[in-house]
């Protein structure tokens, strides 16, 4: 019942928002997403305690990996809703009709549906709908740049979705040829050994390319920095923090399926795609001139790191699960901080922001913490994730892959720190009137930073068990 409520609450709120004033819609969205997070926490704690998936009539199902993704989406959904209240007050709708909160709720619903839906064909629809629900959120500013970004976003990710659709159809065919069974992730793993390998591989490659486009894996990432830099900050937090994660989730789900089929070569594919993404993103981070694009490229880097972790073998699955969580939490915080800088400095250009620490110390500290956290400095969660993955890579004697990964991560770290250093500590230009940060933005920043710090220092028992169980699912345990 809770599983259905998790999807029904935001859908109902979306409808409600159309009838409310903007102020009331903002409040309704915060209350609804808090309610969703509470329900998700209930479901997740149950899944962890029982060690078995929760399900509803064969339509909705939630195992540990699904629970992890669900928790991340719900958490960022709440913090972004809180951040929206103050941030969007300073960004009145330019295009007449005001549907921000209605679309926000639809977007949130589609992302919550990805880890919950049992049937893979329906998971495909949910992922396709995440793009369509968020298209006008990306275009929100209604400038030629925002429209260009929204266009590339819709066309390229829909193109990817159609490719993935054919992949899903091939997987369905595979299940049929293997003698039938439910078309769920579990059913797919069960049918995998009896599938013709060519059909399975065709399905996998099409899904990898298709949803890889949506997850922002290089070389299909070109739309990502545009969309993730032009959307309003709270939407960027959702896009970069969790939307990419939900698409990557669908790709990762095929890893245990290939393993069950005895197709060990799959590891190589994950490793190569991951290293390309990480490397390309690290290089582009050196040349980036817009700090929101900087965080967007860092998303490409992190999607790559998770892919590499999957390729490094048994010891790295925990690192992959941890990294998924650490990235989603840290990246959403980064975009909140970037939104605060936009409000303070009025520009997204790195070169135009100087001496932030003197302009607005609170914003500067938030931005610095966000950048350090996402770049992988200790004691934050991302550092721990990357460290675990590298250690696992060395343990499995993948010296070249682990070496390259370490190199790319260090290049990305240095590039980001160079940009951030100038922005925070540089010599300020002409002093300008600084706007105080809206209270709700500050609240969102504080709430969002807590798990980024906590997970870097200690791993509470429940979360540890959730991550270990997710890693087991990734590795192909029943």
């Amino acid at each position: 019942m809770e599983l259905a409520a998790i999807l029904l609450i935001p859908v109902a709120t979306a409808g409600l928002c159309l009838a409310l004033t903007r102020r009331a819609a903002a409040r309704a969205t915060v209350i609804a997403s808090a309610l969703v997070l509470a329900l998700v926490a209930l479901v997740v704690s149950r899944v962890v305690a029982r060690g078995a998936p929760a399900s509803l009539g064969g339509w909705l199902v939630c195992d540990s990996l699904g629970a992890l993704i669900l928790a991340l989406v719900a958490f960022v959904g709440l913090t972004a809703a809180i951040f929206s209240v103050g941030y969007m007050r300073h960004h009145p709708s330019p295009g007449g009709g005001d549907r921000y909160y209605a679309l926000y709720n639809l977007f949130l619903t589609s992302m919550l549906a990805v880890p919950l839906l049992a049937n893979i064909a329906l998971v495909w629809i949910a992922i396709a709908l995440t793009t369509l629900a968020s298209a006008f959120l990306v275009a929100y500013a209604d400038t030629p740049e925002a429209l260009e970004a929204a266009w590339k976003y819709v066309v390229l990710t829909t193109l990817g979705a159609v490719v993935a659709l054919l992949g899903v159809i091939f997987l369905y065919w595979g299940v049929r040829l293997a003698g039938g069974g439910p078309f769920t992730w579990a059913g797919l793993s069960a049918a995998a050994p009896a599938m013709p390998p060519r059909v399975l591989w065709m399905g996998f490659v099409l899904v990898l390319v298709g949803f890889g486009t949506k997850a922002g894996l290089a070389p299909m990432h070109t739309w990502l920095p545009d969309a993730h830099s032009q959307a309003p900050a709270p939407i960027c937090a959702l896009l970069s923090g969790v939307e990419t994660t939900t698409a990557l989730y669908a790709v990762l789900r095929l890893f245990p399926v290939l393993k069950a089929a005895g197709e060990g070569d799959a590891q190589g594919w994950f490793l190569v795609f991951g290293l390309i993404s990480t490397g390309v993103a690290a290089l582009l981070l050196v040349y980036v001139r817009d700090y929101k694009r900087m965080f967007a490229f860092s998303t490409v880097e992190h999607m790559g790191i998770v892919m590499v972790a999957m390729g490094l073998g048994d010891q790295a699955y925990f690192g992959a699960a941890f990294q998924i969580a650490a990235h989603a939490l840290a990246k959403s915080f980064c975009f909140f901080a970037a939104g605060a800088v936009v409000l303070t400095a009025g520009t997204q250009e790195i070169a135009a922001v100087r001496g932030l620490i003197r302009l607005s110390p609170a914003t500067a500290v938030a931005f610095l913490v966000g950048a350090l956290a996402i770049a992988g400095a200790p004691p934050f969660a991302v550092f721990l994730g990357e460290f675990t993955i590298l250690k696992a890579g060395l343990g499995a004697a993948h010296y070249v892959a682990a070496g390259l990964l370490a190199l790319f991560v260090v290049v990305a770290f240095c590039a980001m720190m160079r940009h951030v250093n100038g922005m925070v500590f540089g010599e300020p230009g002409r002093p300008r009137a600084v706007m105080a940060l809206p209270a709700t933005c500050s609240v969102a920043l504080v709430v969002a930073v807590i798990p980024v710090v906590v997970l870097g220092i200690a791993l509470p028992g429940g979360i540890d068990r959730l991550l270990a169980a997710s890693a087991a699912v990734l590795g192909g345990a029943p």
């Binding site: 049937n119 629809i125 709908l129 369509l132 260009e148 054919l166 159809i169």
Partner: protein, 225 residues
Amino acid sequence: MAGGATSYLPHLNAMAGGLFLLAAFAIVATRQMLACLRWFVAQAFLLAASASVIAIGEGSGHLAAVAVITVATKAVAMPWLLRRSVRGEIYARREISQVLNIPTSLLLAAALTLLAGALAYPVATLGTGPFVAVNLPVGLAGLFLGAYTVAVRREAVSQLLGLLAMENGAFFVAVAIASDLPFIAELTVAFDVLVVTLVIGLLTRRIHERVGGTSVGLLAALRER
């Protein structure tokens, strides 16, 4: 399938497949927007035709419903939506600008078709019947040609037609290999097609209002400088 009464069905299906591929090439080569849309509708009808033929061959009422849904969404609802949201674009008598000229385009399209055939061959010959042997390579080629259309066309509406032609290709494969796909999935994919059309149509209108044209291929303000 062995029965004499239905032995003509694979031939009919192969004919629909050939014409489907022809329509995909026509979408690549047609210079006028309205003609392009008509070819797309023709392609949707051919997809429905293939679904109907396989429905008779396999005695599947499910596939007959898929044929009806295909015609309803892609030949009726989607063109209607498009005409409503971007009327001026459809009826503009100008030629579609594209990155490559038509002969080069057709040559590359032919190469993509060969590639699709080569990729599909090992899977299509797993011994799963005459329908799969036709629909798999043809559908994959349709998907590639649609993607190619998206890549070379500069106009917003023709990029949308390319996307939906890709979707036609994916479903041309689906009617042969996944003929009993859950009905809810078929319905929601049809719904997805309409939402894609609506979102892209509205976005095109906004771009027209804000930028003054719909040559989205020329939008290039966002990049690392």
